[in-house]
């Protein structure tokens, strides 16, 4: 699978330009120019970036919240609704079989994308939040005992925090917080000190949705396992931006959302090792997840059906399939390299804005930039940027404890995707200067 990505990337010009190591100014300019051309080619694959009477042309820098959808995804979904719609795993008629086949083929595609060893390790959910809740309720509520410990980092999104708080409270377990360093990283030595024979789980985000920190999840999983604990990786922010290989990472659980992956909303993925899925009770119960039932009780179907009660998001799963194809056509190594370059460019340009305070580590980080500007409220920053047709996010980004740690209840956040380029960053910087001016700082 990684193989496929690599060979496609070699053919793709993005790979050529951004993997080159040359540092001279001429090459830098060439690269920037090339980035603009490449990103333009990619934007052409998205209706969102084409002129339309209902659309105002927008520089979209809110990719950590959700990504735009390429034609390929929209067409795959509408083709399914139009010509193949049927419920899955039910009808004896041909159309139903075809829908089931497409749904299962999406599952196989996800397994391949994550390098899972078996498609049955892939459970479709509504999104990252539901995937993590599934683990918390099925695994956590059945396995966690009084006195056990669950380690979460200080940079977790509420989706990977509140479910564990719930489990800890219900079971009399302890939630142990892995604090961040002042520059927004996690120190593995600190984890070593937190792990003990009481630790049952380390729940960790792959990339912070505020700080852009890329956590060494492979090492974290290894350490968790060494201590006899399991490891859950929240891949919501990494999945569309870098190669993610569950076997290489060695995680027991991994969660992501379709809508941050250039795919539809309403679809998400939980990867879990098959033995785990076999051994834990179901989350939701109802149709589609039982083998047999009588008045005395029910026998669960084998995973993943056991965890997919009710009619699943079928069209959305098919849209996700198309989104993963879209990503792999560009190549994940190529995307990672491209976004890394753009991230470095952004870091450099953000420094030019007086009074701007960027949170998170530098220079190694993902393309998520949370910042404050003088004492201008982030909401005001976002409004002024919006007025210059630049979409960013402002607020607490669903990470209250992290905001407390940083000492800022709210920040402005720009986050890049594969269709952004240096011109977008230039526009952002220019608009930030205008924000300063509006608020009397220039």
């Amino acid at each position: 699978m990684g193989q496929t990505g690599l060979s496609i990337q070699k053919r793709h010009p993005i790979g050529y330009y951004f993997l080159s190591q040359t540092k001279s100014l001429g090459v830098t300019i060439m690269k920037a120019l090339q980035s603009v051309i490449e990103a333009y080619q990619i934007r052409r694959q998205f209706p969102y970036f084409q002129p339309h009477p209902e659309m105002r042309s927008l520089i979209y820098l809110d990719n950590a919240a959700t990504t735009q959808k390429p034609y390929a995804v929209i067409e795959a979904v509408s083709h399914f609704w139009a010509y193949h719609n049927a419920n899955v795993h039910r009808g004896a008629y041909g159309v139903g079989a075809k829908a089931s086949e497409m749904y299962e083929s999406a599952r196989a595609r996800v397994a391949q994308f994550l390098n899972a060893s078996n498609p049955n390790e892939i459970v479709f959910t509504r999104g990252t939040t539901e995937s993590i809740n599934l683990v918390a309720y099925s695994w956590g509520m059945s396995q966690i005992r009084e006195g056990d410990e669950i380690i979460v980092s200080e940079m977790e999104h509420h989706a990977n925090l509140i479910p564990w708080l719930q489990v800890a409270q219900a079971k009399g377990a302890r939630l142990v917080v892995w604090r961040i360093t002042d520059d927004g990283r996690l120190n593995l030595d600190d984890l070593r000190n937190l792990l003990s024979e009481r630790t049952r789980l380390v729940a960790i985000t792959h990339i912070s949705n505020v700080l852009g920190t890329v956590n060494p999840v492979q090492a974290i999983c290894e350490m968790a396992h060494f201590a006899g604990a399991l490891c859950l990786v929240d891949a919501a922010q990494s999945i569309a931006h870098m190669p993610v290989d569950v076997q290489a990472i060695g995680c027991d659980f991994l969660a992501f959302s379709g809508h941050k992956t250039y795919g539809p909303t309403g679809i998400g993925v939980l990867y879990a090792r098959y033995e785990l899925l076999q051994s834990i009770p179901p989350f939701l119960t109802g149709g589609g997840m039982i083998r047999s039932v009588d008045w005395d009780g029910a026998q669960w179907a084998d995973p993943p059906a056991k965890f997919e009660a009710g009619t699943p998001p079928i069209g959305e799963a098919i849209g996700l399939h198309a989104a993963l194809d879209f990503i792999d056509t560009i190549g994940r190594e190529a995307i990672e390299a491209y976004e890394h370059e753009l991230t470095q460019y952004t870091l450099q340009r953000l420094q030019e804005v007086p009074g701007l305070r960027l949170y998170g580590p530098q220079p190694d980080r993902a393309g998520i930039f949370a910042f404050t500007l003088e004492d201008i409220h982030p909401h005001d920053i976002a409004t002024v940027l919006d007025n210059f047709d630049i979409a960013i996010r402002s607020g607490h980004h669903c990470a209250h404890p992290l905001g407390d740690r940083l000492g800022v209840p709210s920040t402005a956040r720009a986050s890049i995707g594969i269709y952004n380029d240096t011109e977008h960053i230039d526009a952002l910087i220019e608009a930030l200067h205008k924000v300063r001016k509006v608020f009397g700082y220039a």
């Binding site: 909401h379 005001d380 409004t383 007025n387 607020g395 607490h396 209840p409 709210s410 608020f439 009397g440």
Partner: protein, 144 residues
């Protein structure tokens, strides 16, 4: 369009808030928040003989929410409860775009009408007024 939102008068109230602070008891106190953006406003007021004799606000948030609270304190101090209630209704109508602000009645508050072009900011401008409205509910039947 930005100029209609961030008018000088609004930025002035934001930078130099009037009526920011606290009252000694006896007072009525109410607090409200906008969970989505984190704006928080607390209003403290004293009602004597059916009039708002003193009012203060505290809290944090964006320029619009804080400026609006600052303007509120200036506008309602000295008004009868009935006048205050009418003013609140007029502010809501103005923010929703249901009526044009009457500068005679509204004074500086009319500047907040600029949020109408920025639908996501209407909540910021109305927060302080909602808090005041809720605070006045505590007055009902007591000192009036």
């Amino acid at each position: 369009m930005l100029e209609t939102l961030y008018q000088e008068i609004i930025l002035d109230h934001y930078r130099h808030p009037r009526g920011r602070g606290h009252l000694e008891p006896p007072k009525i106190e109410h607090e409200g928040a906008n969970p989505l953006c984190g704006d928080e406003i607390t209003i403290e007021l004293r009602v004597e003989d059916g009039r708002v004799s003193a009012v203060r606000f505290s809290g944090q948030g964006c320029s619009i929410s804080q400026a609006s609270a600052s303007m509120l304190t200036e506008a309602v101090e000295g008004k009868t409860l009935e006048e205050v209630r009418q003013l609140i209704a007029q502010v809501y109508a103005m923010l929703k775009g249901e009526s044009e602000p009457d500068p005679e009645v509204m004074g500086e508050i009319a500047a907040l009408a600029g949020v109408r072009n920025f639908p996501v900011r209407v909540k910021c401008a109305s927060l302080a007024w909602h808090v005041l409205e809720d605070a006045l509910r505590q007055v009902n039947g007591s000192s009036q």
